[in-house]
Subunit: 252 residues, 2 copies
Amino acid sequence: MADVKTGGRARGIDRVIALMEHLHGLRAPARIADIARDTGTPRSTVYELVNTLVEARWLELRDGDGMVYFGPAMHYYGSDYLDSVDLIRKARGEVTHLSESVGETAQFCMLDGDKYLVVLNEPGRRMFRLSSEIGIKVPIPWTASGRLLVDHMAPQEIRAFIPAEDFTLPDGRQIVEEEFLRDIAQAREAGFVRTTALVDRFTTCMAAPVRDPAGRCIATICFVVPADTEADQQAMMIDELKASAARLSGAR
Amino acid sequence: MADVKTGGRARGIDRVIALMEHLHGLRAPARIADIARDTGTPRSTVYELVNTLVEARWLELRDGDGMVYFGPAMHYYGSDYLDSVDLIRKARGEVTHLSESVGETAQFCMLDGDKYLVVLNEPGRRMFRLSSEIGIKVPIPWTASGRLLVDHMAPQEIRAFIPAEDFTLPDGRQIVEEEFLRDIAQAREAGFVRTTALVDRFTTCMAAPVRDPAGRCIATICFVVPADTEADQQAMMIDELKASAARLSGAR
DNA sequence: GATCGATGCCCGAAATATCGGACAAAGTGA
DNA sequence: TCACTTTGTCCGATATTTCGGGCATCGATC
């Protein structure tokens, strides 16, 4: 993305973008020397930039152990972004409501290019939480929601749209394209989709589509629960999802 | 903060910081030409930087009307920040729970320098929502929570800490210092604070202190409600706040 | 207490990113 | 239709920021 020519001289802004992306990838504070090594930025440059960014509250020095991580300014800017996107702002309300009332992890997801993206995640009340990091991108076929998000495309469009390697699950299993296409048709018919033990053995995902006025699925709202969740409980959750998704689809 | 010498030549990163702060101040998309004018940045430079930032998803072009505003990357970085700060992460749960169960706007606030700062805001279910923008800073005496956040200081410390002009309310009224100090003592005694019609005529704020092991108030959790809310309802809300604050104080 | 690695800062040199201005394209209004 | 404003891109010059290397400090390990 921000391609910094390693070795050469680069703009401060590009160095900063690389730095922030690196921290986002780590999802943990990092030492300045490590940032320099891992992003291919000269050490003195990183010190210089980090000082600037800390002063602007974009970054924060942690603990006193010389580590840096995102600072409060990022939270402010991020909140501004969420408030500015109408659909996401409304989805926030639905996701918190679902998570709070049902007590399970609820998410709001969209497409980003040819990848599936978790935009909002609100954990449930379980001891061992199932949840995803905000902003992670995942191959579309690995997810329940993915089956809804491409349901406006023709089969050959889908084949062209999703990279071939994305049909390989993390454990090496292949998702058969015909089954994937059948799932999509079924999901469209039923108005929801459920997958069990897809990317791992113990989770079930249930998702309902948020559609634009033209009927195209632009987002999904979903629950992530343990695979052994009772069937009637799951049925109730699917009804909740459909209701939320309908509210979001209408509210445009 | 990011002081850009107007007129002179400046680093890209300083221009970018000024740009982002400007957008955060506006809380609305802006046209590129306006950004250039308002931040004192040369037009060609803004175009150059905006292109870079849009590519990195830090900014987004809106609508097609040539306006820019924060992009999804800010949301990701901001979420990372929230997750990384233990107290804030836990506070998120409390704030959403309070807002959801009581149906009123709940907030989590801290000090930032000598100003009061809204860190988390979760609106209630009213038709006309009372809420604050994330990241706004407000003079300490204007707020209920402010009376808790300085309660570890001696009177003369407080006088030295809070700028004199911060005792003037937006409508020009003066907050009498003696009353302010008495409020603080009372709040400390009672374990909560309530103010009515302080910055405006129709709101009541109730807040409870989150304290560190040494007993110092490091944050507050609060409700913002219409001033005509029933007394027993308010009493219930104060109990909820105290319980939440106690959980946050203990969970360290 | 000596060695080693890591941290943080400083400085001079030069590679280059910023800036001003010019220009085409797209609106706007009369 | 023409005049005028606004938007977005391009280009060359130079003021400046990046970069590499050096140095003092600090802690850990032996």
